[in-house]
Symmetry: none
DNA sequence: GAGGCACGTAAAGGTTGTGTAAAGGTGTCG
DNA sequence: CGACACCTTTACACAACCTTTACGTGCCTC
């Protein structure tokens, strides 16, 4: 876990840096906006601590330019306490904002709050079971069922149903289906997807009366529930 | 996007709730720790705003029990300003911490900072929904509704409504509509746009009495609200 | 007020996307 | 090899959709 600290107060920076390091993070420092931005753009840090008052480029400018290409988490630090700065920073894409002077432990707590959030999401493996509107699939057993009755689907049909179940209610285009399910770009006049959907519908209809896969002409297909 | 607000100050809660709602979030409220925890455990909220001082169970206790099973983002609110509370909350697993009194806009900015982060990591694109004067559209599901009633629009009608909703109150010329929606320059004597707008109006009028798409002779169309 | 222009809209016609049966192709397994 | 399961292509039908046509209305100009 590598942190980039951008602060022009060299004494504070070195103190902070030492403290953060003692808490188990690697720290790199920059003391002006230009240098900081350059380091940040190397994309090798997991989190950036960014002072607002900086020589050459101020913190907001650094954040703005950084956000043009990078989603790295940023915590802003500032001596100023006023609301406007805080809001401005957050709306520019900062993840958090700590007014100076701050308790070192709070800084660590906030760093951990953000990294914890990221870890949790990254480590949450994709769901193994999906369910919507009486349709369920289980990835482990590669089985699907409608209204509790098992469906005997071909691999492609299963993959399409899986894709639709990942975002029920969202329109999935044929291009998307072709690329994700068949692994190739959709060619003009290619009717494979239509056929697979047709067959899938037929199998679902054996157990569920209502429409489940709705066609959005010119856009794709959507999984829908009742009503 | 659904927010759960847990705060025992009923007046403040209703004010806040209204403001948050006006920023495009659904809000549910609880006024003590027990009720709040019960609602939170239903797992149907995307973010929780949690006051620290609460009757029955205090905010920390709610957070602790919630974190035993749920990773839902939590922002703590507190009247107390001392470091210890902040750090304690963050270390218990809160995502953020805002001391009362806070600027409402800052709250929204922090809510958005957290949801933005989560969306980026999940690779899920933010919900694109537009709303004006009882007309709403959802890009994901490519669906539209008037006064809550679903509209069954053709692709072109949907695209026109989308264009109008992007700048409610602004005049959109037929040239613009033709180029952006139909993908071609507007030819003389081409009446397609007029027809699409006419049909769109008809469908909207089934559910909304008042005029919504006003013609500006010689200039184009505007989306208008009541009064 | 006559003429021109922009617009509203019903109806007709043409185009395109989609549903699906059937046939053809490919790979696997006994 | 034949049987089988699966995917793709072909072909046709149809419905949804878009555009054009035609006629009507209201506004502006001269």
């Amino acid at each position: 876990m590598k942190v980039l600290l951008i602060d022009d107060d060299i004494e504070l920076a070195s103190m902070l840096s030492e403290y953060i390091h003692s808490q188990g993070f690697d720290v790199e420092c920059a003391h002006d906006g230009e240098q900081g931005l350059a380091l940040a753009l190397e994309n090798k840090h997991d989190l950036i601590l960014l002072d607002v008052m900086l020589p050459i480029l101020d913190g907001f400018e650094v954040l703005k330019q950084l956000r043009a290409t990078s989603l790295v988490p940023v915590i802003m630090l500032t001596a100023k306490g006023d609301d406007f700065d805080r809001i401005f920073g957050l709306e520019l894409g900062a993840d958090d904002y700590i007014p100076k002077p701050f308790n070192h432990r709070e800084l660590i707590a906030r760093i951990k709050a953000i990294t914890r959030r990221i870890e949790h999401i990254n480590h949450s493996q994709p769901k193994q079971e999906l369910e919507f509107a009486n349709l369920t699939i289980c990835m482990q057993s590669r089985s699907a069922s409608a209204q509790g009755h098992p469906l005997s689907l071909t691999g492609t049909e299963f993959a399409i149903l899986h894709l639709l179940l990942q975002e029920p209610g969202a329109v999935i285009s044929k291009e998307q289906i072709s690329e994700q399910v068949l692994g190739r770009r959709l060619a003009p006049y290619d009717r494979s997807i239509d056929m697979h959907v047709s067959n899938l519908r037929k199998k679902i209809a054996e157990h569920i009366e209502n429409e489940r896969i709705r066609t959005i002409r010119g856009a794709g297909y959507v999984l829908i529930g009742d009503a």
